[in-house]
């Protein structure tokens, strides 16, 4: 068990639709991610980055291929077991924020802890701490409608990391932000990776953001086009 990598994708394909309208978004992805790594996924629009992230986050199922998480074959798990895998090991930051509307930042961040069955005192403390970590102290009782895009993105990140997941999956976490905000968010994510040992997989379009990662994977047309470590020659 211990010698298995954190994540191993082998021959993952994903086809949307069927017959004439079928579209193969992923055409065979092989990928190994070790625990503690910080991986940036880049590539042109429509190259299948989000599709791959959704499969990695157990939000979607691949058409073919195998996905092993800590040596466990994910496609052999039941719906409930996959939900428990998400609950206990994964944190997801969506391309859109996907916060609950008309619900305060605090309650949004608390949500994963409620499903984990944390007692309310511990839950509140952890949620407040997570919000403070993303710089939202004092904004606990604002709902998404009362927060800026950058602030909503921070709430989404706080919700993803409040459970101290093994893996943080972030789909364009800085996609809607200006440079300064982006830098701050990337700083936060790097800190989680460095200080809390959270493995990070992040989709981004911007080379500046990818520069924070230790490893950069390029997707082109549903395949891995290149896979290199930052600092290595391109």
């Amino acid at each position: 068990m211990s010698d298995a990598p954190l994540i191993r994708l082998s021959g993952i394909t994903k086809t949307y639709g069927r017959g004439q309208a079928a579209l193969q978004a992923l055409k065979g992805i092989d990928l190994v991610v070790e625990a503690g790594d910080f991986v940036a996924i880049m590539g042109p629009s429509g190259s299948g980055k989000s599709t791959a992230m959704n499969i990695l986050g157990c939000l979607d199922t691949p058409t073919r291929g195998s996905y092993e998480f800590q040596g466990v074959r994910v496609e052999q798990l039941s719906r409930n077991q996959r939900a428990l895998l998400r609950r206990h090991y994964l944190g997801f930051v969506f391309q859109g924020f996907n916060l609950l509307a008309r619900t305060t930042a605090l309650e949004n961040v608390e949500l994963p802890l409620i499903y984990r069955g944390e007692p309310s005192a511990a839950r509140h403390a952890a949620a407040r701490a997570a919000l403070a970590q993303v710089g939202l102290q004092g904004w606990e009782h604002h709902s998404p409608g009362e927060l800026s895009g950058g602030q909503q993105q921070r709430v989404a990140i706080a919700r993803a990391i409040v459970t101290r997941p093994a893996v943080l999956l972030a789909d364009e976490p800085t996609g809607n932000l200006d440079t300064r905000n982006s830098q701050e968010i990337m700083g936060l994510i790097s800190a989680f990776n460095r200080d809390n040992g959270i493995t990070v997989l992040m989709v981004t379009h911007e080379p500046d953001m990818a520069a924070y990662a230790r490893r950069v994977i390029r997707f082109v047309d549903g395949r891995v086009d290149s896979d290199r470590r930052n600092g290595e020659a391109a």
Partner: protein, 400 residues
Amino acid sequence: MLWNTLLLALRAIRRNLMRSILTILGIVIGVAAVITMVTLGNGATRSVSDQISSMGSNLLMVAPGQRFGPGSEGAPNFKSADVEAIRDQLTAAAGVAPVVSKTATAVYQARNWSTVVNGSTNDYFQAGNWELASGRSFSETEERAGKAVCVIGETVREKLFGRQNPVGSEIRIKQFACEVIGLLKAKGQSAMGSDQDDTVVMPLRTVQRRLTGSQDINRVTVSVKEGASIDAVKAQLTQLLRERRNIGENEEDDFRVMDTRQIAETLTGTTRILTMLLGAVAAVSLLVGGIGIMNIMLVSVTERTREIGIRLAIGALEREVLLQFLIEAVVLSSLGGLIGIALATGASIALAGMMGIPYLFDPGINLLSFLFSAAIGVIFGYFPARRAAGLNPIDALRHE
């Protein structure tokens, strides 16, 4: 898990306050309408049957003509001999009261009041379930001699004497003075809606001699002995009258014998139909409320599907999401149901008081409406959620 899910359900209710209130309102209106209508209908039925039993049970009423009331002019009235024959031959009769009625104005000092004067015997009080509030009924001499004495109803007392005790006073009816010897206990409205207490009762002879000027008898009330078969007595009475009135084999009766049970059945049947009609109208409003709820739920399906997607993505189990929606639906619809029941109880008590009918709590209709409202809530709140919770999280999130 249950506790946490309850917390989530309550948060969802608070989060969508307007939607929650509208849902509750839909149920409240429907439930309150159904319960109020049915409760009032039941009260009306009860009040009618109460009035019927105040008429006295085991009663046969004989009147000339085929129908009661006006339209019986063609058929001849009864004679004293008919009454005697009934008394002699109908062994199962406990009391036989011949009645002559005439509208007349009663005067006391400066006050006058138009009322119905009934001429009869003491059997009249027994058969009609009348009790005396004060004074006495007729003596044998008074009956035989046709003395000018009378027993008056509560309405007549009120109109002529106010709160004063009328017993011993003299009132004038038409041209003659008449001593009030008794006051009847109030009975209220009759099942047909007329005021039973608006009456003056005198010995039969007195009315025949001084008011109608004929020996005719308008109707006969026969009370049947306890334990005797009403149907048998009725048949016997009909046969007797047919003979006395010389009705041929193939001719129709020119009189009618009604028994109180029959009247009661007709009247309660009518009110029961009315209750059912009211209930049906109210059920439509419950249905409309349900459609309103369905509308609200369908409008919010997109948002709620995305919400379910978020919850699933965060690690909620399908059954946790479903339980949350189920709790939410049950809380909203039972709250609506309870408020509806409370409202209906208040409205029914108030309206029953205004209409002068008794308030009867009907556990059946309360339970039924409550269960129906709960079912509506669960069907429209829970089933859309069931579909969404079965999706891949990402498909629920992408729902448009």
